[in-house]
């Protein structure tokens, strides 16, 4: 398999599987697992190629930018593809158990539509991570948004429907902000190719406004404080596997585009003020999200607010990685943390789904003794919490450690303090859940049985989130391939 084939298969196989899953209802799970296999093989191949030969670019149609569209795989894109594939595979295993263990009449309907929508989501994510063209990214964003919104609505309950519609409105308006920005950029620079933009972009009114529009749209989609309001209801009311996908991957798609825009296409516009502004919003997100998480009565809402908080860490990457000194340390730290959070959050939402199905509710104060009935799930939640808080040897620790080192090296004490406070708050809300879960009760209630696969997939992801910590050196090496020039990374 050449790297061109690998790139093509990463997009074509989930797309074709999505279409087939719609045409042949009932084959969804097989198609999803088949996609997981093909995508996995393609990623292995592409990783080999990238580590051996640097950034892999494929010119669609043979035209090349600016007339054509380029697809590009560098270290960052590969990391995102890997995280997506890992979580996508886990969800492929988990979902059937989830939809069949619930006790409602609509479950077959939900399962039937879950598979094509899920595969469309996967298509959109793979296409987004490989795209090097800001208009093409718009199309992937729409694909991603439609799939995400519909998946939330699949829960069918009133709260889920309302949350889905609000999410759709935010998502569509945000896409239009982004698209208007793309139009202005094209008018100014006559190209929509990320790589060519860096050479052509000169700060000026048009580009400032364009970038502000695109950033505003992407911040809303990424649910960065103060545009986070739509996230908790949507993520908390969606079916558990969907919540996991949304928190772990979907919001990060928009974050990924922000990184590409500011660090690669428009580094000329990345002033210290802009970087500090992003950092400030991230700080507010960490504090606000964590406090809200502490106050939530329901487990899924707690996890959703935790997502609001943890997204804040990702935005610390802007002030820390924009510096030439120690920039790459922060860059790799932030992105390792992204992977850690994705796996941990998936594990947590899957656990919450297990609890909902087994106990029939997810009220935190009534979780006493849940370890007795769902020992594996409780253990998975604990492990995921370990990584979320950032305790060694988890990958959450590795990511935060690198961020801290970078902040220390640059003397940016505010961020040092913030990372530590955020970790303490995370420890507090994780403990809040665990203290209930591990409380012994005299007469444990007998829960509804759930398929073992639901527990084991949650555990696998929690283990992955911890275990990735041991691979952080390797991840950093991967990320070096094609890292932005801004931080002194190796230019392709």
């Amino acid at each position: 398999m050449t790297s061109a084939w690998a790139i093509a298969l990463l997009i074509l196989s989930p797309l074709a599987a999505a279409a087939l899953a719609f045409a042949f209802p009932g084959r969804g799970r097989g198609l999803a697992l088949g996609t997981a296999a093909v995508v996995g093989a393609a990623i292995v191949q592409l990783t080999r190629a990238v580590l051996a030969g640097g950034v892999q670019t494929h010119r669609v149609g043979g035209w090349g930018a600016p007339l054509g569209i380029d697809l590009r795989a560098d270290g960052l894109a590969l990391l995102m593809l890997m995280v997506t594939a890992g979580i996508g595979t886990a969800i492929s295993l988990y979902a059937q158990g989830y939809f069949r263990s619930g006790h409602d009449d609509e479950a077959p309907h939900r399962e039937r539509y879950f598979w094509p929508l899920f595969l469309f989501l996967w298509t959109a994510l793979n296409a987004l991570f490989l795209s090097a063209d800001i208009f093409n990214l718009y199309v992937t964003l729409e694909l991603l948004g439609f799939a995400a919104v519909t998946l939330v609505a699949l829960a069918g309950k009133r709260a889920a429907l309302t949350a889905a519609l609000r999410y759709l409105f935010v998502s569509l308006a945000a896409s239009l902000f982004y698209l208007l920005g793309v139009g202005l950029v094209y008018g100014q620079c006559a190209t929509v190719d990320l790589a060519s933009l860096a050479a052509k972009a000169q700060p000026g009114p048009t580009l400032w406004v364009a970038l502000a529009l695109m950033t505003g749209g992407l911040i809303a989609k990424a649910a960065l404080f103060p545009m986070h309001f739509w996230l908790p209801p949507a993520h908390a009311n969606a079916p558990a596997p969907v919540s996991a996908l949304l928190s772990a991957l979907v919001v990060k798609g928009s974050f990924y585009i922000l990184l590409r825009l500011w660090f690669e296409a428009f580094p000329a516009l990345m002033t210290p003020g802009v970087a500090q502004l992003f950092g400030g919003l991230g700080a507010a997100a960490i504090l606000w999200g964590s406090v809200q998480a502490l106050l939530q009565p329901r487990l899924k809402l707690l996890i959703a607010y935790s997502t609001v908080a943890q997204l804040g860490y990702l935005f610390l990457l802007f002030p820390l990685a924009a510096a030439r000194e120690g920039g790459f340390v922060a860059w790799s730290g932030g992105l390792i943390f992204l992977g850690a959070h994705a796996c941990a959050k998936t594990a947590m939402f899957l656990t919450a789904g297990n609890i909902l199905h087994a106990a029939g509710h997810d009220r935190i104060k009534d979780l006493d003794g849940i370890t007795h009935s769902l020992p594996i799930s409780a253990f998975a939640f604990g492990l995921a919490g370990l990584s979320l808080v950032g305790l060694p040897p988890s990958s959450g620790f590795a990511g935060k450690w690198l961020l801290l080192n970078s902040a220390l090296a640059q003397g940016q004490w505010v961020w040092v303090a913030l990372i530590l406070i955020g970790s303490l708050l995370a420890a507090a809300y994780v403990m809040r859940v665990l203290s209930h879960a591990f409380t012994r009760v005299a007469e444990p209630t007998t829960p509804n049985p759930i398929p073992p696969v639901m527990e084991w997939t949650a555990l696998a992801l929690a283990l992955l989130s911890v275990g990735l910590g041991f691979a952080s050196h390797w991840v950093a090496e991967l990320l070096r391939v094609g890292a932005p020039v801004l931080m002194g990374g190796a230019a392709p």
């Binding site: 797309l15 279409a19 045409a23 494929h58 043979g62 035209w63 007339l67 539509y113 992937t140 406004v209």
Partner: protein, 230 residues
């Protein structure tokens, strides 16, 4: 009221920023006109817009066909379709009009597809006409046989995406490049994609009007008798 005022001020500020941005654009932006025209002979079509849509930036269109399919999957997952309330079944004159108009619309859709290669038109415009024809048919209480054949509908809806994906794979085999057509054969490949896409686009747009999955879409029995006596 306070909220409106605040949002009004915010919007005016946005308007000012946007005006500033568009007025600062270069008076003669470079664009890609020249490049598009220069490569036009190699693209397999002579309408530059079609060349962009299905050749230079054909990959965008692949994803767009995916968006269309996703939209209908989403709508079907959300609700059951409803037959239009004010259907025209008991109007014989309109019925005979439809008998003429529907085939004409389908013919026009095919025509638009065909001329898209060298004049304004193409699969999207043709598909829109086809969708319009489907809407009219539904309003007239026609097309029931097709609409109740769910398997057939699903096949028609995914046709565009699957053919497009297949062309991507075949071009990979032939030239090693995604959507890189072998020299001289661009027109044929584009026509293959567009023909399949036309059917899917038309069906999608028409079925969006139905607003849901077509289970139990047997139209309610004609309301004529009970209402007349009421």
């Amino acid at each position: 009221m306070m909220r409106r005022l605040l949002l009004g001020i915010l919007s005016l500020a946005l308007l000012a920023a946007l005006s500033w941005a568009v007025l600062s654009l270069p008076a003669k932006p470079t664009g890609l006109t020249e490049a598009s025209l220069a490569k036009l002979p190699e693209s397999g079509v002579t309408n530059p817009v079609t060349a962009v849509l299905l050749n230079y930036r054909g990959y965008d269109t692949l994803l767009e066909v995916g968006v269309l399919l996703l939209a209908i999957v989403g709508v079907w997952s959300l609700r059951r379709g409803e037959w239009p309330a004010n259907d025209l079944r008991d109007r014989p004159l309109l019925q005979s009009l439809l008998r003429v108009v529907l085939p004409l619309l389908m013919l026009a859709a095919g025509y638009l597809l065909w001329i898209g290669g060298f004049a304004p038109g193409g699969a999207f415009q043709g598909g829109a006409l086809l969708g319009g024809a489907l809407v009219l048919a539904m309003l007239g209480g026609r097309g029931r046989r097709v609409l109740n054949h769910e398997r057939l509908l699903r096949a028609g809806l995914v046709l565009g995406a699957l053919v497009f994906a297949a062309v991507c794979a075949v071009t990979m085999l032939l030239t090693g490049g995604l959507l890189q057509y072998p020299p001289g054969s661009g027109g044929t490949w584009i026509m293959a994609i567009e023909s399949a896409a036309l059917i899917s686009i038309g069906l999608t747009l028409g079925l969006l009007y139905l607003g849901g999955r077509p289970t139990d879409t047997t139209p309610p029995s004609p309301p004529a008798h009970p209402t007349k006596h009421a």
